[in-house]
């Protein structure tokens, strides 16, 4: 408790020996201390009571809120080159969750009278220094155009912006490549990129889904191609500095994997009818074992919906966070103004550079892996247990 509200402790100490010589800015601070300790003795009787809540004696919660906002505003004034958010954090670190009015009045007085010299201000600065910038900050969702329809939240946020941006770029690429009814017979670089992606997914579908004639297989091809291009362009797009990784949000990947899972289950029922339920029971199993085996097959089957979402999300989030942490350490070392650190800084810097390559690789291979697993699930749903591929 005390380590969270250091000022509380300090105030207690100071008010005990308020008449004694205090080391810091003598005249003003002693008056404020005696002032506030007078108030506290008025309301609570003894100094020990400062640490206790007295809702009966101090029912004025409005006063507390008022004091909190006063402290915050004062800090905003004092912390010139910091954002209001930082002032808010500092103010919260100062007064904590305290509802002790004399204590908060003391902080406010201290800030008002001593300004930048005050102990409270120094504590606030220390709290800000201690506040490590989280590497998860980059995944923050910021609404650009707040919009609310009823209770639903329809804001245009930065994920929507980057989704729209990537989507329009990919569509533009496809449009320009296939402009004159299918492009040139000798493709240029852009056209061969698109053809490469198309061929790749086509081969994937043809290899992984078996037991169907070519025409039927091609029914699934557009869906899989779209899923593949979605992750193929979304994942590396997050590697651009100051952009936003759409697929690093669990909600988005989970929405994708769940809808695909539901679609695959529908396809399974459509092709096999109720016979699809035999998917849950491998052939030739003795009857007493059947209940357990059904459970054992059902759980992994349902877990597929979660796992492909989690896999994509975890890869994107963990990779981007580690790059962020390492580049943060490189930046801190660079700013230390020390020749030793300046030379040593090359280490983290090269690790960041070296990590960027695998990150791009992971981004692309995750698109590949998720597409392959979709094909495998689709194959399972269509063929049940007849043709076991390598997974």
């Amino acid at each position: 408790m005390f380590e969270k509200f250091p000022r509380l402790f300090l105030f207690y100490e100071n008010s005990l020996n308020s008449s004694a010589t205090s080391s810091r800015t003598p005249s003003q601070s002693t008056t404020t201390i005696t002032d506030s300790s007078l108030q506290s003795s008025d309301t609570q009787g003894s100094y020990d009571g400062i640490f206790e809540d007295h809702p009966g004696l101090n029912p004025s919660s409005e006063r507390i809120v008022e004091l909190q906002s006063d402290i915050r505003e004062k800090l905003e004034e004092l912390l010139i080159n910091k954002s209001p958010d930082a002032a808010m954090v500092a103010a919260e670190a100062l007064h904590g969750e305290s509802d002790n009015i004399p204590f908060m009045e003391f902080i406010l007085n201290d800030l008002n009278t001593n300004g930048v010299e005050s102990e409270s201000y120094k504590d606030a600065l220390a709290a800000l220094v201690k506040m490590v910038p989280s590497p998860l900050e980059q995944f923050e969702i910021i609404p650009f155009f707040p919009m609310k329809i009823g209770d639903l939240y329809f804001s245009f946020t930065n994920p929507s912006l980057f989704m729209l941006l990537t989507l329009s770029l990919v569509l533009l690429l496809l449009y320009f490549v296939t402009k004159k009814g299918g492009g040139n017979s000798v493709p240029n670089a852009w056209q061969s990129l698109v053809e490469l992606i198309y061929d790749f997914v086509l081969n994937l579908v043809n290899e992984q889904i078996s037991g169907l004639s070519g025409n039927v297989k091609q029914k699934f091809f557009p869906c899989i191609l779209v899923t593949f291009t979605f992750s193929l362009f979304r994942n590396p797009q997050g590697m651009i500095p100051y952009s936003f990784t759409v697929t690093s949000h669990f909600l988005i990947t989970l929405g994708l994997s769940f809808s695909i899972f539901i679609g695959i289950t529908i396809v399974g029922f459509q092709r096999n009818g109720l016979h699809f339920l035999s998917f849950l029971l491998p052939a030739g199993v003795p009857l007493p074992l059947a209940p357990f085996l059904v459970l054992l097959e059902l759980i992994p089957h349902c877990f597929r919906a979660l796992s492909s979402g989690i896999r994509l999300f975890a890869n994107m989030m963990a990779g981007h966070s580690s790059v962020k942490i390492l580049s943060g350490s490189a930046w801190t070392m660079l700013c230390m103004n020390d020749l030793f650190y300046f030379i040593g800084d090359l280490g983290p810097l090269f690790i960041v550079l070296a990590l960027t390559g695998p990150e791009l690789g992971v981004a692309i291979s995750q698109a590949h892996v998720s597409t392959i697993s979709i094909c495998i699930y689709l194959n399972d749903a269509i063929n049940l247990h007849q043709s076991d591929s390598f997974l």
Binding site: P135, I310, A314, M317, Q366
Partner: protein
Amino acid sequence: MLESAKLIGAGAATIASAGAAVGIGNVFSSLIHSVARNPSLAKQSFGYAILGFALTEAIALFAPMMAFLILFVF
């Protein structure tokens, strides 16, 4: 108290990397084995190995993800 418990938890979460290391090592040692036995299948097995590597790597990344979540979210 909570801070130190967080640090211990995040550190403990990274133990899981040991399993991922075993898995990745296993994937590539199997690749070398199979290519040594049948070099003509090198290309095909390399594709499978990369797929297996990506799947293992994905599981491996759960560990740092848990560590980050413990450290920075809660």
